[in-house]
């Protein structure tokens, strides 16, 4: 009883303090002075990874637009959720931003795992930072030459083919299970810890099929170490224009793309968000950024915060549907 009263008192004080802070920070962050110091862009993956590269390409251009350095800070861990959890609990003043991918925005939560935050109530979505397709690639020496033939082969030889993904509940795993369920065939899933060992095993012929990112595999495709069957993006990838999409291969409406969202802690002043949105969209039209994006196989996107939020909802609906249909949730 006593502790309850005490708890309530604590809460009231805490709420008051938080409200006070919010007022102060809102006051300090008027759009005309924003930003008057360095802006931190939190990436939930280690330096050198694909998310980090995207963040650094954009950060450089946004620094010019905003007139203040945008510093990439890596807080890797738990599919990117460690970094986003940090952003979610940061001051909503526009000085701590995050790059949230498919995993930390949707998949981790949708497969029944705690992320440490609720994206709808704790984060604001500023914009989409480009999209990226996956490629369904096979080891060399496999008989089938097209995706149709591959799925036919799997149907004729049930349980013979194996496919690897970069982990349970990752986009590659879910996209492939989804495709297999549409085609009504089975392959044995071999989960890997990230792309590196997966690439090793498909090149070495230890696993038959691998779901890989297009930039991570374009060079291996070019060198003939792996055979690309199809890309999962709605359009063909500029990195491997001769490879058909899954849709072209007879699965109308099938797309699976990776993307990143620029997020801020919820409660970031609207004018600050607009400023960030403009800077992001300016970057998306810059020639250098577009060139770097093309090299990385990324499709640029221009979105308002509202459009980006709608995009998130739409993607979530799709992936939650897939996860529910396949019964993949871990708990």
């Amino acid at each position: 009883m006593l502790s309850q009263t005490w708890n309530n008192a604590c809460r009231t004080i805490a709420a008051g303090a938080l409200a006070g802070l919010a007022v102060m920070s809102a006051g300090a962050a008027l759009a005309q002075d924003y930003p008057d110091g360095p802006v931190t862009l939190v990436v939930g993956f280690p330096p050198g990874g694909s998310t980090d590269v995207v963040a650094r390409i954009l950060a450089e251009n946004m620094s010019e637009t905003l007139g203040q350095p945008v510093l990439v800070e890596n807080r890797p861990g738990a599919s990117g959720t460690v970094g986003i959890a940090y952003v979610a609990t940061s001051e909503p003043d526009g000085y701590t931003l995050g790059v949230s991918g498919l995993g930390s925005s949707i998949l981790v939560a949708a497969t029944g795992r705690d992320t440490g935050y609720d994206i709808d109530s704790q984060l604001d979505i500023v914009g989409v930072m480009g999209t990226l397709g996956l490629v369904i690639a096979g080891r060399t020496g496999l008989e089938p030459q097209t995706l149709e033939e591959l799925l036919q082969y799997a149907a004729d030889h049930p349980g013979e083919l194996t496919y690897g993904s970069s982990g349970v509940g990752t986009p590659g795993h879910l996209a492939m299970e989804y495709l297999l369920s549409l085609a009504d065939v089975e392959m044995l899933h071999i989960p890997y810890q990230g792309n590196t060992p997966l690439m090793n095993d498909v090149l070495g012929g230890h696993v038959d099929i691998a779901l890989l990112t297009t930039p991570g595999s374009a060079e291996q495709v070019r060198a003939g170490g792996i055979y690309p069957y199809a890309v999962t993006s709605p359009e063909r990838s500029p990195l491997m224009p001769e490879v058909p999409t899954v849709m072209e291969s007879g699965f109308e409406g099938f797309t699976a793309t990776l993307w990143n969202l620029l997020v801020t802690p919820q409660g970031t002043p609207e004018d600050v968000q607009m400023r960030l949105s403009e800077a992001l969209n300016t970057a998306m039209q810059d020639a250098d950024v577009l060139a770097a994006y093309a090299e990385q196989g990324l499709a640029p996107t221009i979105t308002t915060p509202a459009e980006a939020t709608a995009f998130l909802d739409q993607e979530r609906e799709k992936w939650e549907g897939v996860i529910a249909a396949l019964g993949i949730a871990t708990e």
Binding site: G48, R56, A78, P191, M199, G204, E219
Partner: protein, 505 residues
């Protein structure tokens, strides 16, 4: 080949590249000396700076930091019993006793030579047989990795140098700690206690720095009055005796081969190389009791191994585009940012990058030898500072280093916890070295075994029937048998001896 090397040296010998090569190896040595700050942290911090450099120059500098760190890490291990990086934890085992015997100079000299030998072997392998080694690496499937890790684990039990039982206990504790995190096969969380930070497992750097670094500081503070190092390391004191030299030749050769081979396999890396090289030395030594008390082989082998591995780690990274470690991923990231896609065609598409980098490795290793041998006095000057200044700095550096790895305060707490554990272990006479090896090998062992069993559709016969896997497993079996037989023979021998002496009495 000659043409390629000429191209490489032409690239590496420009004033800019020489400067950045020197800068890289110098920074690497410096960061290696500082406990806690590893090359991974340094490279991630410096990555943004390299955007403004030519890609080859950027890689030359980052590469220099990487292998320079392997040189530098041994200095604090020998002098202060504080490993600069996890792979140097093993160098402490015999390096520090040598220093306590007043032979720090010899230990540092041998380390520098062993590092140079290892580095050279690694570069030769990279240059001459890079693509071939990379292909061998690819042919290693999950079953083979499992067998290899098991072999490592069997060897690991001997690393502690002392009692096999204590070694086993530590290995098992390491294996248990290695199960913390996300289970790769099912995606379930194990022992994460609702900490997001534990989902990727316990940080190796935090663990190694706590167990070795913090623990050493605590025990030194406790006994600081009795421990004073007055010795000066002069060039003269660094000259090893002829016996020292004779004793280190074979360990260097063995260490370089082990490191060169393991470094080229993606995922194994410098830590495992150093530990296994050490374990091998104990295995082949006639008098095992010298280890842990200042055996010169005990520093020569692991130091040549980790440097060889640091060089051959570039084999899969550059020739097939598969980064073997987190540090190597950053290197590839640096290339990607410059618009160079790493992959099997890198060598033919961008020969200046590849051969320039290799040429810079030669230059860098020579710089390192120069930095390490005559300038050792400079590093050793650290010793002349009173401990009351050194230790707070060391603790601060460990915390900064560990924090900067993942920008994580959580990991700093881990250092504190492992520091306490390490001190406790030290007090009760357990060596944390096998624990680290168990921790590194365990998750790889489990992951690869389960993957191999998945691929074999749950049939263990199919796993063992693979010629490579079967052979490696058989070697492990023989090792175990050897150890058991040796134990039994010693036991009987001891009994016979006891009986004999009883009779005589």
């Amino acid at each position: 080949m000659l043409e390629n090397m000429a191209l490489g040296f032409a690239t590496a010998f420009t004033a800019t590249n020489l400067f950045y090569c020197f800068l890289g190896v110098f920074l690497g040595t410096f960061i290696g000396v500082l406990p806690g700050l590893g090359s991974l942290a340094a490279i991630s911090m410096l990555l943004p700076l390299t955007f403004y450099l030519e890609p080859t120059t950027a890689l030359i500098m980052l590469g220099g930091i990487y292998y320079g760190g392997e040189y530098g890490g041994s200095i604090a291990s020998i002098l202060l019993n504080l490993p600069g990086t996890p792979s140097h934890a093993v160098t402490c085992l015999d390096g520090n006793p040598l220093a306590k015997q007043g032979r720090a100079g010899v230990a540092l000299f041998i380390t520098a030579i062993a590092s140079f030998v290892g580095g050279t072997v690694g570069i030769v392998a990279l240059m001459g047989f890079g693509p071939a080694i990379a292909r061998i690496g690819l042919s290693f499937g999950p079953g083979d990795y499992f067998a290899l890790m098991l072999l490592g684990l069997v060897a690991a039990v001997t690393v502690g140098g002392g009692s096999v039982i204590k070694g086993l206990i530590m290995v098992v504790l390491g294996l248990l700690l290695g199960t913390v995190g996300t289970d790769v096969t099912s995606g379930e969380f194990r022992y994460t206690f609702d900490f997001l930070e534990l989902r990727d497992g316990v940080s190796l750097v935090a663990m190694a720095m706590g167990l070795f670094g913090v623990a050493e500081v605590i025990s030194s503070v406790r006994g600081s009055s009795e421990r004073k190092i007055t010795q000066r390391v002069t060039l003269r004191s660094m000259v090893p005796t002829r016996a020292d030299m004779r004793r280190t030749l074979k360990p260097m050769a063995r260490g370089s081969s082990i490191g060169g081979f393991l470094g080229a396999l993606p995922g194994t890396g410098v830590v495992i190389s150093a530990f296994l090289a050490y374990a091998t030395e104990i295995r082949v030594a006639k008098d095992k009791s010298r280890f842990g008390k200042g055996a010169i082989e005990g520093i020569a082998a692991p130091e040549s191994a980790n440097n060889a591995a640091a060089q051959t780690a570039f084999i899969p990274t550059l020739t097939i585009g598969i980064p073997g470690s987190a540090t190597m991923s950053i290197m590839l990231g640096a290339l990607m940012i410059h618009g160079i896609s790493p992959g099997p065609l890198l060598v033919s598409d961008h020969p200046t990058v590849f051969w320039g980098l290799i040429a810079s490795f030669w230059i860098g290793n020579i710089f390192l030898l120069i930095l390490n041998v005559p300038l050792i006095g400079m590093w050793v000057r650290v010793l002349q500072f009173p401990y009351k200044f050194i230790y707070p700095v060391v603790i601060a550096l460990i915390c900064i280093g560990v924090f900067s790895m993942r920008t994580s305060v959580f990991d700093v707490w881990l250092v504190v916890i492992f520091g306490a554990l390490g001190y406790l272990l030290q007090r009760v006479g357990y060596s944390p070295a096998p624990l680290i090896l168990g921790f590194v090998l365990g998750p790889m062992l489990e992951e690869n075994l389960r993957r191999a069993m998945l691929m074999a559709r749950g049939d263990p016969y199919r796993l063992v029937a693979d010629p490579l896997t079967g052979t490696i497993l058989a070697i492990s079996g023989l090792l175990v048998l050897w150890a058991v037989l040796g134990g039994v023979r010693r036991w009987f021998g001891a009994r016979r001896l006891a009986k004999y002496s009883v009779d005589e009495a």
